[in-house]
């Protein structure tokens, strides 16, 4: 129970945070890779600047939703100034809770027939 309450204290996540967590869901990435992934996945609708990205990374890191990874890629590909971030177990729980929250909101919108044509059915 306390865990759940702790998870919920982060909700709702800001779009930037949610997209960063989502970007890390399939593996660890460095800052620029996260930024690229978010832009690609949202058709450039969510564009993070360096300041916004690292401001969010700092907060996610300090609250334990993400962590710095110890594993580095092969030496040829590695840039030692880059740090890699991974999604923690807790971060995954928060991301899932946020997705569920959105899903519930979506369900309520459907029940109210907010969408004329049920595209997502």
């Amino acid at each position: 129970m306390p865990k759940k309450r702790e998870t919920e204290s982060f909700l709702p996540l800001t779009p930037a945070m949610f997209h960063i967590l989502l970007a890390l869901a399939d593996g660890e990435k460095h800052g620029y890779a996260i930024l690229k992934e978010v832009a690609r996945r949202t058709d450039d609708k969510v564009r993070l600047s360096a300041g916004t990205l690292y401001g969010n990374l700092a907060r996610l890191e300090s609250s334990g939703l993400i962590a710095e990874s110890n594993r580095r890629p092969e030496v040829v590909l590695d840039d030692e100034r880059r740090r890699y971030y991974l999604l923690t177990e807790f971060g995954r729980e928060v991301a899932v809770a946020e997705a569920e929250r959105m899903e519930e909101a979506l369900g309520q919108a459907r029940a109210k027939h907010l969408f004329r044509k049920p595209k997502l059915a």
Binding site: G31, G51, L53, Y54, D79
Partner: protein
């Protein structure tokens, strides 16, 4: 070097990143730069210049939204950490906050007064244009002479520098038609008085020129307070009528709640409605002076120009009326800013108190810095651990400044509450010095002052602690328990702070000591009367009913007979004033002075005529007050209005004007020889204008031959206050329309006359006491700390054969050395500063040896006492324990 090779855009990005907190930059700055480089490359490839511009826009917005959030987060963290530290060190926190609160509170309170009285412009539009006009008889030593009606007319017609000139005097009248007859303080003013000051009415209107024409139907303006308290803020008051001086007066308006100068009045009337001022004799006589005059300078006119203007007019009057303004009196007139006029008595006292309060804050700062240093010594290890764990240097400085800022803010808030709580007391005190006291309150500017004081304080002691954390912190990790190397450096600074505290405390104590000595001297002065069991009161008859001198004589005699018949009354007298009467003290001897000629003694050219104060008294005045007869006789019941004019003089007058002859039987005249008065007796001197005033020459005229009496004085067998009701009833038995007010015992009046020096002395003494406590606690604290840092060394000394007594002497000696240094600096400072308080002292030289030695001894004794406990502890150190401890 590397920076120089960077492309411009990278340099710009680096500069931009600097708005982020230091730690954030350290952590993510490099990565951000890398990301930005990649973004830039990509944007240029895809969108060219437009793409690059878009990226810059997004980047700038991103950094400027992230930066405040990050700073806030650090601040919140620092604050909660600081709160935790404050809770952990409750003793330190409480002492620091209390010390700062006392310092800041004292300054806030005094500043609120200085701000309201000395700094803020008068609460009237273009208040700096308002001037107070005065006439002087310089050769007679009269600086502030009132005006007669013809004089006012002349100044009004002839001046070229004023846009308006108005007159003012106040009287007490009885107002009928609203319940019981009500004695009202009445300001009698020119019709354009309120226009000149720029005061608009709250209800109705102010006076119009027609209201002041001779024979105009009388109109009244009510003061805001009188309207609120006596008429329950009746909105329909305008148009109501009341009877005053046997005439119907119509209320035409109510004044807004503005401070009233020069005095607070209940109602205002125009000059034509005042039975005295409109009297034909008054209107025509050039030497019947009872008015004060104010003016407003035309825009662009300076006070110097107005002054020159009035000097010219005075010169013109002298040549036009040589009989009234003979050369030997040194007649002159001048204009001075109203603001200065209202505040000049308060200025030296207020500045002295402001200086004293600033000293208290300095001492408080030094003390809190000392406490912080002592705590730093204990926190060195904690700070070193934090550094080792990666907290940046600037991060630590930030943390320390946050802590000191929070302490100062808490001190500031508590200080503000202290100041707020003492405001009424202070207003009451300042009210004795200036009519502007009513304007004192804590407003936004006072709050700003408090904030600045708190921030300044936190910067002073916060920076001190922060600077000291710059020492090599890692050494304290390696070092033993208390960081001896750092400790010694701290100790030197701490000692310097203690010396400063002692020096400042010494100067404050000297100030307070001198004021107290002066007050004691003042209290010991023999006033020349026996003030015990004497009751005095103002008795304002409705004199409109008793115009003929005989009628006055009859009613006064009836009054005295009736009062004397009251059981418990030993004697009674009426007079124009009595010793220590508050108005007499405010007005000073000048307000009741007159010049005269002595029969058979011609003035040499350029010689000034004799001047004396004057009081009109009934025969029993002297016995009632206990004034001894020195020669001749006292006044008698036979000295009636029709009898030959007589006067009794005091010894000062006898010594000054008849130094080598007997004054009895000599005759004087105050009206150029038309009427002569014989001196029939000499009585002892009375210090009636205040205990610090040397008695001036005085003439006591027989009441029946002079002005109508204003006060009743009664000597009783028992406690005089218990007789007040019976005596009031007795007065009302004679004439029920008489207002009996200002009932005071003479002892009260004497005590009140010393209020200003007493309050100044007690405020200064409070400040000095605070300083003494803070400084003594400071010495005790630092000696205790030094001992605890040197346990090992002292242990070795004892082990090597040092006797406890010599250890005691050593520690005590160090404490005393600091105190002696402080006292030495303090003596030098006090010699310079006490010159400034000279004008406030009575018969005490500013470098009074007794005060200096007493204060020095007190401080050294306090220092010895404070060092004794740590010294005792040091001498009792067990060497085996001390050596094992490490």
């Amino acid at each position: 070097m590397e920076n120089q090779k960077l492309p411009f855009s990278q340099k710009l990005f680096r500069a931009l990143v600097r708005v982020l907190p230091f730690d954030f930059r350290t952590n993510y700055g490099g990565e951000m730069e890398g990301v930005f480089r990649e973004q830039q490359r990509e944007a240029e490839e895809r969108g060219g210049l437009l793409g690059a511009l878009k990226l810059w826009k997004e980047t700038i917005v991103g950094i400027f939204t992230t930066a405040p959030r990050e700073h806030c987060q650090i601040l919140t963290g620092d604050c909660s950490y600081a709160f935790r530290m404050m809770r952990k060190n409750l003793w330190f926190t409480a002492v620091a906050i209390l010390t700062l609160a006392l310092g800041i509170g004292a300054n806030t309170a005094i500043f609120s007064v200085v701000h309201a009285v000395l700094l803020r412009p008068l609460p009237y539009p273009q208040g700096q244009q308002l001037v107070f006009i005065r006439q002087q008889e310089k050769k007679l030593g009269i600086d502030d002479m009132q005006f007669s009606v013809p004089e006012i007319m002349d100044y009004r017609a002839q001046n070229r520098t004023l846009s308006g000139l108005v007159e003012y005097h106040d009287m007490s009248f009885t107002l009928f038609g609203h319940g019981d007859p009500d004695r009202v303080r009445t300001g009698v003013v020119s019709a354009n008085y309120f226009d000149l000051f720029g005061v608009n009415p709250l209800l109705g209107r102010t006076f119009l020129p027609d209201d002041e024409k001779p024979g105009a139907s009388p109109v009244l303006l009510l003061s805001y307070e009188y309207w609120k308290n006596n008429f329950g803020s009746d909105p329909a008051i305008v148009g109501k009528t009341f009877e005053m001086n046997d005439m119907v007066h119509t209320v035409v308006g109510v004044l807004p709640p503005v401070p009233q100068y020069p005095n607070e009045n209940d109602v205002y009337m125009t000059t034509s409605a005042c039975p005295f001022r409109s009297n034909k004799m008054h209107v025509e006589s050039r030497d019947m002076r009872m008015m004060e005059v104010f003016g407003r300078m035309k825009p662009g006119v300076t006070v110097a120009q107005a002054n020159a203007d009035f000097s010219t007019i005075a010169a013109g009057l002298k040549s036009a009326y040589p009989k009234f303004y003979p050369d030997e009196i040194g007649f002159a007139s001048s204009a001075s800013p109203l603001q200065e006029e209202l505040t000049h008595t308060a200025r030296p006292t207020l500045l002295l108190l402001l200086g004293a309060a600033a000293f208290v804050l300095l001492i408080a700062c030094a003390n809190v810095a000392n406490l912080t240093l002592a705590r730093m010594a204990r926190r060195e290890r904690e700070l070193a651990v934090r550094t080792a764990l990666g907290a940046g240097r600037s991060r630590l400085l930030r943390q320390l400044l946050t802590e000191s800022f929070l302490l100062a803010c808490a001190g500031g808030i508590l200080g503000l509450l202290l100041a707020y709580g003492s405001l009424e007391l202070i207003t009451d005190f300042v009210g004795r010095l200036t009519p502007r006291a009513r304007e004192i309150h804590i407003d936004s500017q006072v709050l700003l002052f408090t904030l600045i004081a708190a921030v300044g304080t936190s910067i002073v002691f916060g920076t001190l602690s922060a600077l000291l954390s710059r020492t090599n912190l890692s050494s304290s990790l390696k070092d033993g328990s208390s960081g001896a190397g750092l400790g010694r450096r701290h100790n030197r600074l701490r000692s310097a702070l203690i010396v400063c505290q002692i020096a400042f405390s010494f100067m404050l104590l000297i100030g307070a000591g001198l004021m107290v000595r002066s007050l004691i001297k003042l209290q010991q002065v023999d006033a020349g009367i026996v003030p015990q069991r004497v009751l005095a009161m103002r008795t304002d008859f409705n004199w409109a009913k008793y115009t003929a001198p005989e009628a006055t004589e009859v009613v006064v005699q009836k009054l005295l007979d009736r009062v004397k018949s009251e059981p418990g009354v030993l004697s009674a007298a009426v007079s124009s004033r009595y010793p220590f009467e508050p108005e007499t003290i405010t007005g000073g001897p000048e307000s009741v002075s007159f010049s005269f000629q002595i029969e058979g003694r011609a003035l040499e050219p350029g010689q000034s005529p004799p001047v004396s104060t004057f009081a009109s008294v009934s025969p029993d005045y002297f016995t009632t007050l206990g004034i001894p007869l020195k020669a001749g006789r006292l006044l008698a019941d036979t000295d009636k209005s029709k009898a030959p004019g007589v006067a009794v003089i005091n010894e000062s007058a006898s010594r000054k004007y008849w130094p080598n002859e007997d004054p009895i039987g000599k005759r004087v005249s105050a009206d150029g020889g038309q009427h002569w008065v014989s001196v029939v007796g000499v009585v002892g001197d009375v210090r009636e204008f205040g205990l610090d005033h040397t008695p001036p020459p005085e003439f006591y005229g027989a009441q029946a031959q002079n002005a109508q009496p204003a006060t009743l004085i009664v000597r009783t067998a028992a406690e005089p206050r218990s007789m007040a009701r019976a005596i009031t009833t007795a007065v009302h038995d004679v004439d029920s329309q008489t207002a009996v007010t200002h009932i005071l015992t003479l002892e009260q009046a004497r005590y009140e006359s010393m209020a200003s020096p007493r309050v100044t002395a007690s405020l200064l003494a409070t400040f000095a006491g605070l300083a003494l406590i803070i400084a003594t606690a400071g010495i005790g604290g630092i000696m205790a700390l030094m001992v605890s840092q040197r346990v090992r060394e002292i242990g070795i000394r004892i082990a090597l054969g040092a006797r406890p007594a010599s250890i005691l002497r050593m520690v005590l000696g160090q404490g005393m050395l600091l105190a002696a240094l402080g006292v030495g600096i303090g003596v030098a400072g006090a010699f310079v500063l006490t010159g400034l308080v000279k004008s406030l002292l009575f018969e005490v030289p500013p470098t009074d040896i007794l005060t200096f030695s007493a204060v020095g001894a007190t401080l050294l004794f306090a220092a010895a006492l404070a060092s004794y406990l740590p010294a005792k502890r040091a001498s009792a150190i067990d060497p085996t324990e001390a050596l094992r401890a490490d």
